[in-house]
Symmetry: D2
Subunit: 159 residues, 4 copies
């Protein structure tokens, strides 16, 4: 039966407090029976992968490069998907996830949030981007969580 | 000799005032000798293309679909590049432009702004997105213009 | 620990004899502990997925469309990866597989064989394409198997 | 008005005789009023670009890398389109061309021929790949030319 895949997006570098949240969220996802998909790299991606792995969950890493030499998967990735299409793989991360969760974030993460809204995917933000544009209402189905537990509760509702 | 390509990003629907600005900017770009690249569609893309075309400029449209049936180029596109890769083509728009100019914008445009910053391209914003993330300084080389003339002056400095 | 992923490429329509071979090969792969990756569709892809699934293996389907409405995964896909990038996803199939196995094949499969050789992946062909070009020697690391058992033996050597 | 774009595909290394044919064909294309699209690189791509350029034609180069440092366009490319999506850009070459002409070829060219047939584009082959698969008739709209003049005649019929 097809797994229910939840995407966790975030920067390749983060501080310890953010990593701790990402790891906790990855663990909660796996404990709830979800399969985690991320960009396969370091920072928030690695922390969330570690959490999911520790709870026995499956971790998919969708990487930008051609191979492990060019894009090393973090050690907790069970299924490295090498795309060779660089940042364009951000679209795949979004389309393959039933809910897109962004934790903190640099500009790659912002592109994923934007793609998710564009593609009609529900988005959960934890300590992540604020964004607005003149004369346009905020997007529907974008939610802000105050901690990993609240993010998981939102994912359960939205998946 | 290679053309100097400037990207104009913006939504496929816009109000008349925005279209007027986009058209004026397209015209200014072409008069200054730049080649315009856009997503090839309607709205801001079409208005900017119309302006460039009226001034005798060359217009490249990088389209998401496989062909004109799936992704009709606007009537001012001289060179339709059909990608078949959907929104992932937003990366190409950014990488092929020496400066990325966003006029107004929906979420596709936000993804292009994010990719541009990620890829180190200078960005000029005209009535476009505001965005920020906790504990991170604003990106360098992101400029806000108050009108098409100022946007052109910035492009000339940055190209 | 990262799974060892083997790609099975083939057409979305095939006759019963080819389907039987693909299913048998999928079963052998899973029994040998490999994870199967395919394009996620019908025909050879579905038959190989069914075989792997029956043997308790994990099946990754890398699909061309945005979602299950546009690109329905076959019923044996555990992990549908929706790319939205159409045939360009063929590159991902190749890069994510340690060995690329082509069974029969239409032109999509031929593009995958070509990408695999271009990217230095070993290729195993079963009832699949013949190809040659003037004044160029045949590619190295392209092997022809006479049946699924021989294809598995080659995969074990090459993975 | 939209240009009529013809794609010329071929390897990044070739012998002098092949380069001479590619250059002659590029020249003929431009003299006939077509815009040439190629992968933007060396070998057959550069030779065809040089021919088109010498005849005053416009040359589009669709490159695999992010920028000129990673993927230097040959000196005759007027419009470098940087994709960042590596070999996946081969799909774009095909979709953006009204006719796909392959001259000689390595495996990248074979992927383009395969994509062209898959996408229903007419294909003209000059000293290029032979390919067949068991129990399947040859593709329609694939033509073999004996020299650049015959290739041009075919392009004129097919565009």
């Amino acid at each position: 039966m097809a797994h229910t895949i939840i995407g966790v997006m975030g920067p390749s570098r983060c501080d310890a407090a953010t990593a701790e949240k990402a790891e906790r969220f990855g663990r909660l996802l796996a404990e709830a029976g979800f399969t985690l998909l991320c960009g396969g790299g370091t920072g928030v991606m690695e922390a969330a992968s570690r959490g999911a792995h520790a709870a026995g969950g499956l971790v998919i890493g969708v990487l930008p490069g051609h191979d492990a030499t060019e894009s090393a998967p973090n050690p907790y990735v069970d299924l490295p998907i090498f795309t060779g299409i660089s940042h364009a793989r951000n679209l795949i991360n979004v389309l393959s996830s039933q809910v897109v969760v962004a934790i903190a974030g640099a500009h790659g993460t912002l592109s994923e949030i934007a793609f998710a809204i564009k593609c009609g995917k529900p988005v959960v933000l934890l300590d992540s981007w604020q964004f607005s544009v003149p004369e346009s209402p905020p997007a529907e189905r974008v939610f802000r969580a105050k901690d990993p537990q609240e993010a998981l509760a939102l994912v359960k509702q939205l998946a």
